[in-house]
Every structure is written in C-alpha cells, then in structure tokens.
C-alpha cells in the first residue's frame, strides 16, 4: 500500500536552498541539527525572510550560510563578525546572524569575537563548537579540551582551552548561553529570544564531529557523543556559577554545564549622531 502524503511541503522548504542538496556534512555531524533550529527560529520570529541575513566564516559550520535561502554571505576565515558588523550598521533594520564554528570564531577570528562582544553590537552569533578543525581533518584548536587528541596533537592537546561563555561574559555580551546538539528546543528558543533582544548574543552549541574530532578521541559515532551530552549535561540558570564549572573536560565525569549564563540589557553599539540644529 502506498503511504499517504500527509504534507505537500515541508514547513522549512522556503528557507532551504534545496537545489544545493546534498550538503557536505558527514554522517553523525551536528551542524545540520543546529541549522534546523535556526530555520525554525526564523519561521517563529515572524520577521520577514528578507530581513534575516546570515553571515558565515570558513569551515563546516561556515557552510550553513550557503544552504539557507536568505541573503547569505560566506566570507573569509574568521571575518564573519566584522563583515556582519558592516551589514548591520549600514542597515539597522536587518536581523543579522553569524553562524560559524569554534575554530573560525575563536581562533583566527578571536580578536573580532571579543571586540564585537565588547561593543555589544547587535549581532546574533551561533557558535558550533565541535572542539576541532573538522573541515581540514581533525586538527586541535583553541576549544580542544586539554589532553584530547587531534591530528596536530598526536600526544594530546597541551594547551588550556578557551571557556567561551565566560570569555564572552567578561567581554560584555548581552546574552550568552551554551547548549548541545541534543538540546534542539533550547537552541531554537535561544536563537528566537536573541532575535528580539538588542545587543550581542552568543549561543554556543556543542556538537559531535565523529569524523574529525571523534576518530582521534574514541567517539567516532555521532550518536555516542549525543548520548554523552544527554547523560552529562547539567542545567544551571542565571549567573550563579563559578567560571571553572564551565570548563569542558570530556574524559572525566565532570558535568557539562548548559543553560543561559548571561541575560542583561546593556546598551548595544550605536554610531554617534549629531542632532541637527
């Protein structure tokens, strides 16, 4: 018996460039899940599609811009935030989101990230953190947990990683949260909330990268990493945490703290205006 067609069209069809499928992401990758959260948040926002702009840098997460049927800009490695800054300041009526990975935003783009947060510029940044440079094949980066392995750290990562939520909190962002790829409702809700909240929003989403990060670290199955997130995620609310709590150590039984860590209303950056006399 032929299955009945229950819908002519997927609700997200208008948001996805179907003519660009199949996408480049590996089996078990978390990026597509988070892109779906973003698309749903756009639909729920009620903001006209032409007012939503997406800017990406380079890397697997940077490919999100190319799959969204919006005005979309795939820029240079690390420079998505300043490019987006130009769009937002030139046309403040636009809702400008930056979608990129931990390597793009926190390594090569780290300077732009901290200064954009300091300015509290009205951008919505979704940072997909898979603890490594996935597109180039699993090299360590500034978010790789100490001791984890990568193709450029065959003896284990020697460096202290960035703790992105506390970094962004210290810099001055208005909104900072962290979730994992299993928290699809929370990720969608936070992106949607960030659309309505002026200032710099930073949403970190931990995501499996079984081919890049996983293969060197004994989690080469995406589902296995999702199960780890489910089992070890602990929700904390508000700013009642020690910065040290947010350090991610995948090897120990240290919980992975998730939640909204910063939600404040400092004035966002606005260019100087001289009142006409």
């Amino acid at each position: 018996m032929k299955p009945a067609i229950v819908a002519e069209k997927h609700p997200l069809d208008d948001l996805i460039r179907a003519d660009r499928m199949p996408h480049i992401w590996c089996p078990g990758c978390g990026v597509g899940i988070i892109m779906r959260c973003y698309a749903q948040a756009i639909l729920d926002s009620g903001i006209p599609l032409e007012k939503h702009i997406i800017v990406s840098g380079i890397g697997c997460s940077g490919r999100v811009a190319g799959y969204m049927k919006l005005d979309s800009y795939h820029t240079t490695h690390g420079r998505a935030i300043p490019f987006a800054t130009g769009i937002k300041l030139a046309n403040p009526s636009l809702t400008v989101s930056v979608f990129s990975g931990d390597g793009d935003l926190a390594a090569i783009g780290g300077n732009h990230l901290i200064h954009a947060a300091r300015r509290n510029i009205d951008l919505k940044v979704v940072c997909i953190n898979n603890f490594n440079f996935g597109m180039t094949g699993g090299q360590v980066g500034p978010t790789t947990p100490k001791g984890a392995f990568g193709t450029t750290a065959p003896y284990g990562c020697l460096e202290q990683p960035f703790n992105l939520p506390t970094l962004l909190k210290a810099c001055g962002a208005n909104f900072v949260s962290r979730w994992t790829a299993i928290h699809v409702r929370q990720v969608k809700d936070d992106i949607l909330y960030a659309f309505s909240k002026p200032g710099f929003a930073f949403i970190e989403v931990l995501a499996p990268c079984p081919i890049g990060f996983g293969k060197s670290n004994g989690i080469d199955d995406g589902l296995e990493e999702m199960e780890m997130y489910r089992d070890r995620s602990v929700l904390i609310q508000g700013e009642t945490f020690n910065d040290e709590d947010l350090v991610i150590d995948l090897r120990s039984e240290h919980p992975i703290y998730v939640g909204r860590f910063v939600d404040r209303d400092r004035p966002p950056f606005a260019p100087a205006k001289v009142v006409q006399s």
């Binding site: 811009a65 190319g66 300043p82 987006a84 800054t85 769009i87 030139a90």
Partner: protein
C-alpha cells in the same frame, strides 16, 4: 551647528581632509578603520563629519576587521571606505581579495609611507604600488588612482567611488604622505555638479526565482548588484561560484569566473584610466611619474624645455589598470622613457614591459620627496 555633506567653496585644505570631504561629497556614509600614520587624519575628520550627515563611523580592532566591515556595509548598499598605510594595507589584502571575488565595490585609501615593515611612519614612500596590484593572492584586476595634490585627494576619491561602483570592484586611492599632509587650495563644486555613477541594479524583480546574482547581462561583464535586505535571497561566497552564486569546484567554472573578473577591468580600461600630459606633443624624452613625484617631474621637464631639450611628462593619474595603450602609442615617437618614483623601480619595470626597451629610473627608497634635480639630470643624460 552641523555642516552639510558638500562644503561647496574654495578652501585651504589638508590633503587627508580633502580626501574625507571627497568621500562625503561622493555620498560615502560609512567608514571603518584603524589608526595609522599618515592616514589617521582621514579617520579623525570623518569621525567628526559622518555623524553630521547621518553616516556611520566605527573604529575597528584592526585592519582585517576594517576591510571586512566596509565590504559588509557595501553588501548592504552603502558607499563605504577605509583609510590606511602600507602595514595596514598588508592586513587588508586578505579581504580585498574577498571584495574582488564577491564583486563588492568599496574604497581603500592607502597614504603611502616609507616601507617595508614599519618603515618610516611619518615620511613618504610610493612602494605599495605593486602590493596594491598583486598583493592579495590570485589573479585579479583592481583599480588604483594616485593623487598629486589635495585637490586630487578630493577629486580622485569621488572618481574612485564612481569607478568602484561602476565595475563592482574595490578601488585603491594610492596617495602618499606628501600629498596627504600637504595643505593647498581645494575647490569643492556645488553638489549638483558632482558626478555620481550608481551601481547597476537587477532588472528582475526580487520575487523572480530565475534571478542569478552573477549572471552577466551586458558586454561590460559587470553583473547587477542586489543588496542585503532587498529580498533577492542572494548567496555570495569567496569560493569559486557559478552565476547563481553557488560554490562550484570545477576547473571550467573557476576559469570562467577568474577570467571575467580580470577582463571586466581590462576590457573597460579606456573608461577607467586617467593620465595627464605636459609638453608631450613633440617630446622625444618622456618622464613617467605619479603622486607627489610628478610635481618634481613637471618642474624638471619645464627646466629641460627652457634648456631646449624636448622633454615631456606623462602623469599617471590612474595606475591600475596600467595605461598600456597610451605608453605603446608614445613609444612610436619617443627616444627615451624615464620613470621617477619613490621606490626601487616598480612602475619602471611596467614601462619597460610595455615599451619593450630599457627605461631609465630615478629612484629613491622613500623618506623624502625626490627633488627636480636628479630627474633633470636624468633627462640631460639621455639627451646627450
């Protein structure tokens, strides 16, 4: 009291300020930059002036960000610019290439100082000429104009914006410290006499799903530009892309795209190029110079003429694309070319390439303007 965007009238004006006023007169309402001598006065002037005309001024964390930000502003429809010097241009080259690839018009002002490295921050140089042309990786073509006076800091800033918009490419104003810091008469025309070339807009409606953002519809090889927020849901990528703007990693598409980016400038070179000739009609010896060095070269040519030597000056108002046709035509009647420039031979080699002969160079690595005397001596030497 706020001042209007166009300060029509006769002024005694600093070169960097004249550049800033030229930008405002051209309709530029967006500046992102990072302080660097000897260009900082442009940023300082616009920090005061842009808020008066409802424009945006933002000081960025570095030149990488400055360049990316003005491209973003351009993508959203603004005439945007930054100002820098050699060390800053080095950092901007990454995203200058992005501007070439996305075909986003914008203006980079490079007030050249003695280089390489930190070099001579407060003293002049002209050694970024080849960096402007070839500094970003890959094959591409770009626009560069070289002012020789504060008046041209004003005029060529406007021309640079117009040509950048006309050909969808970043333009570079290759000024030098002498011209940037010189104070001289600047005449600002009435607003309605300032030329304004607009960007080519798509002829298709935003709702038309067949719109392809990189489809060339005219012989000029320049596709129309849809801005962020206009509803065309365009995709722009620094990856090699097809006419839809979609990444396409094939040799065929890559060759087609890069060739077009190159040819859209080369084929329209006659429209872009500006030169000025002095005493060229019967000249047997032609000095080629640009920027502040052209001032000394003109003096040397006039002195040579007074001595009965048939010398002339070809002043390069635009540098890139290189005026190959003009130099080739001169070659027929000219015995000797001399190039005077504050570097060790960057444009001399270009003239040699085009003229197919050895060209005498009057060079200095920078730090002080080349005076007329060594140029005159070179003219007299080849005249023997």
């Amino acid at each position: 009291m706020t001042r209007p965007a166009v300060l029509t009238g006769k002024h005694f004006m600093h070169g960097d300020h004249a550049c800033a006023e030229g930008a405002l007169a051209a309709g530029c309402r967006f500046f992102a930059g990072y302080p660097i001598t000897p260009s900082t006065e442009i940023a300082e002037h616009l920090a005061a002036r842009l808020p008066e005309v409802d424009g945006v001024f933002i000081q960025m964390e570095d030149e990488l960000a400055s360049m990316a930000t003005i491209l973003g502003a351009s993508a959203a429809g603004a005439r945007s610019m930054t100002a820098t010097s050699g060390p800053g241009l080095s950092l901007m080259l990454e995203n200058l290439g992005l501007g070439v690839m996305l075909e986003l018009p914008t203006l980079v002002v490079d007030v050249m100082r003695g280089s390489p490295s930190t070099g001579l921050p407060t003293l002049p140089g002209q050694s970024d000429v080849m960096q402007a042309r070839w500094g970003s990786h890959g094959d591409f073509a770009i626009l560069a104009y070289s002012p020789w006076s504060p008046q041209e800091m004003f005029d060529l800033t406007i021309l640079s914006f117009n040509m950048a918009d006309r050909y969808r490419v970043p333009a570079i104003l290759l000024a030098d410290e002498v011209v940037g810091h010189m104070v001289e008469k600047v005449i600002i025309p009435p607003e309605d006499q300032i030329e304004h070339l607009s960007r080519k807009k798509p002829s298709r409606q935003a709702s038309d799903d067949n719109f392809q953002p990189y489809l060339v519809e005219n012989a000029d090889l320049v596709p129309p530009l849809a801005h962020a927020g206009e509803g065309y849901h365009i995709h722009m990528t620094g990856l090699t892309h097809d006419e839809r703007g979609y990444p396409d990693m094939t040799a065929e598409t890559h060759n087609r795209l890069v060739t077009r980016l190159f040819e859209k400038i080369q084929k329209n070179a006659d429209d872009i190029i500006r030169v000025e000739g002095y005493e060229l009609d019967d000249a047997r010896i032609v000095v080629v110079a640009y920027g502040c060095t052209a001032r000394s070269a003109r003096s040397a040519v006039l002195q040579a003429r007074a001595k009965g030597i048939p010398a002339g000056l070809l002043r390069l108002v635009s540098i890139w694309p290189f005026p190959e046709k003009i130099i080739r035509e001169l070659t027929q009647n000219v015995d000797h070319f001399i190039v005077a420039e504050m570097n060790l031979g960057q444009i001399r080699l270009e003239v040699e390439r085009v003229a197919h002969r050895e060209v005498k160079g009057v060079h200095h690595a920078g730090g002080a303007m080349i005076p007329p005397e060594p140029i005159l001596a070179a003219i007299e030497e080849v005249a023997k």
